[in-house]
Symmetry: C2
Subunit: 330 residues, 2 copies
Amino acid sequence: RYFHFCKLPGRVMGIRLLRFTSVVIIVLLLVAGALTALLPNIKDDKMPNLRREPKTQSQSALDSFTLIMQTYNRTDLLLKLLNHYQAIPHLHKVIVVWNNIGEKIPEEVWNSLGPHPVPVVFKVQTVNRMRNRLQNFPELETKAVLMMDDDTLVSAHDLAFAFSVWQQFPEHIVGFVPRKHISTPSGIYSYGSFELQNPGFGNGDQYSMVLIGAAFFHSGYLEDFQRQPEAVYALIDETQNCDDIAMNFLVAKHTGKPSGVFVKPVDIRNLEKDTNSGYSGMWHRAEHLLQRSYCVNKLVNIYDGMPLKYSNIMISQFGFPNYANHKSKM
Amino acid sequence: RYFHFCKLPGRVMGIRLLRFTSVVIIVLLLVAGALTALLPNIKDDKMPNLRREPKTQSQSALDSFTLIMQTYNRTDLLLKLLNHYQAIPHLHKVIVVWNNIGEKIPEEVWNSLGPHPVPVVFKVQTVNRMRNRLQNFPELETKAVLMMDDDTLVSAHDLAFAFSVWQQFPEHIVGFVPRKHISTPSGIYSYGSFELQNPGFGNGDQYSMVLIGAAFFHSGYLEDFQRQPEAVYALIDETQNCDDIAMNFLVAKHTGKPSGVFVKPVDIRNLEKDTNSGYSGMWHRAEHLLQRSYCVNKLVNIYDGMPLKYSNIMISQFGFPNYANHKSKM
C-alpha cells in the first residue's frame, strides 16, 4: 500500500499524508495513554471485612443494603419512616412494596420533596398479599436486605450495628425480634415469646426464630423463597400471616443451624398508634398467635420435620450507648 | 470322625457323647445370642451440636474442657476456688500450675478431703515463670481449655454459657475481660481498656484482645505457642507479664480475625483482698500497664506487623438471669 500512496500526484502529497498519519497515530497513543491512567485499580474481590472500616460513599454491593418495606393502609407512617430510613448509613436503595391496591403511589409527593439520599422504588402490587415483600425484586442489587415493617422505627445506631453483625453472620437472619417454638408431649408445637416455658436446655431462655419485620438477611434467600413447595405459599395466603416463620424454616433448613442471630435493640419503637388511618396491624387480630402456632405445625408437615434450632446468643454493641456498658462488679 | 466315635465301646457311649455334644452346642449358641443382644448400638459420630442438649456424664473430648490455673503465693485462694471450679458442668480435669518453687503441693490436704468430682493434677514448676501456664501439658485431653487466674471467681452460670459460646466460636478466645490497643499518630501503640479513646470506627468502643486469665480457648493454641519466636518468650520472661497479649497476637495472626469474643459476665469477682498471704497480684505493680503497652509495641516488631483486629460484639445470655432481659420499650 505504501507504494500505492507514493503513486499519488507528487512527492509533496505523499509527505503530507505521512505527516498527517504520524500526527494521528501520536494523538491516538496519547488518548490511549490517558485512558489507561484513568482505568480503576483492580480491587480484590474480598469477602466482607469483619471489621467495618470507615468507608467513602462508594456503596458497593457488599458494603450496603437494600431496605424493603411493605406497606398497607398506613401511608402516613410510611412517609414518616422513609424520612428516617432514607438517611441510614450504608443504605443503597429503598423498595416500597405497595399493597394499597388501586391506590396511587405517593410518587408526586415524594419527588416534590426531593432530592433524596437514595433511590426509592415503589412496587405496585395487584393483589394485597403478605408475601408480596418476599419477591426477588429485579431492583435488588445488594447482597444484604433490610426488611422492616411499615410501623417499626429502629434507630440508625441499632441498624448500623446490626448490619455490621450481619456482615459477620451473612447466612443468618440478624434482627431485633426473637421468638421461639416449644414442643409439647403430644408432639404438637406452639409458637410464642418469653412468656412461654423455656425449652429447657440449661439456664435461661432460647429463641428459634428472628422475625423478618426488623432484620437483615441475605438477598439469596429471596431467590430461595421462590422455589418453595406450593403449600407454603398457600399457607401464607390462607393466613395472611407466617411469611416470616416460613423464612426462618427456609434458613434453618439451609444452614442446619439456628436461623437467626438476635441483636438487642437499644431503641426500637412501634408507631402503630401514631397512624391517622385507624388501621392497626395484623397482630391485633384475635387469632394472630394461634395462627402462628398453626403455621409452625403446618410447616413441619410440609418440610417433613422441624428444622428450627435454638440459640441463646444475645448480641449488644460494646461500649454503646454507655461507654462502660460492659463493666461488671469485679 | 463320626465313624471313629462309633467305634468306641458300645453304642451307649456313642449316644451319650452325642447328647453331650448337642448340649454343649446349644449352650454355646445361647451364650452367643446373649452376647449379641448386649452389644452397644452403633452411634453416629456427630459434630458437636450447636444446641447444647442435656448430656449424660460422658465427658468426651469435644463436650468438656480442662481448667488450667496457675498459682503463686495464694494457696488459700487456690483451694477456695478449687472447691468452686471442681463442680462446674462439663469440666473434665483441673491442671494446677504450681509456681511456688520449692514448696510442697497441697496434695495431702487435697486427697484427705476427697473424693473429688474430677481429677486435679498439680504440675510442679522449677522456675516461677508467668508463661508456665502456657505449656502443652500431656495431661490435657480436651479440645477446650478454660484458663483462670488464681484470684478470679466466675459463676458456674457464666462459665457454662461461655463454654457453649466457645463451642460456636472454637477458633477464638472466648472470655470475660476485654482490652484494646490504640494507635497514635506517631505509630506507637498504647494498651488499655474503656478509659482509652475509642478506636474511632463508628459508635461505641471496640476491643482487640480478650485476656486469657478468664477465658476459653482451643488447646491447639498451646501447641502453637511452643513454636513462637524466641523473642516472645524472652519478652514474657523479662516482664513477667504479657503472656496473654502474646496469645492474642498468636490467635489473631492465625485466624486473620479479631482474636477474642467477649461474653459479658453476670457474676465475676476478684478475690485478691481475701487472701491471707498478703500477696496482691502482678497488676498492682506501678509499671504494669506501661509494661503492657511496651509489650504491644515489642510484639508488633517481633511479628512484623499489628495482627490484632477490633470487634464490638458483646454477647450475653438470652433470658438469663432475667427471663425478659431482651425486652425493649416497643
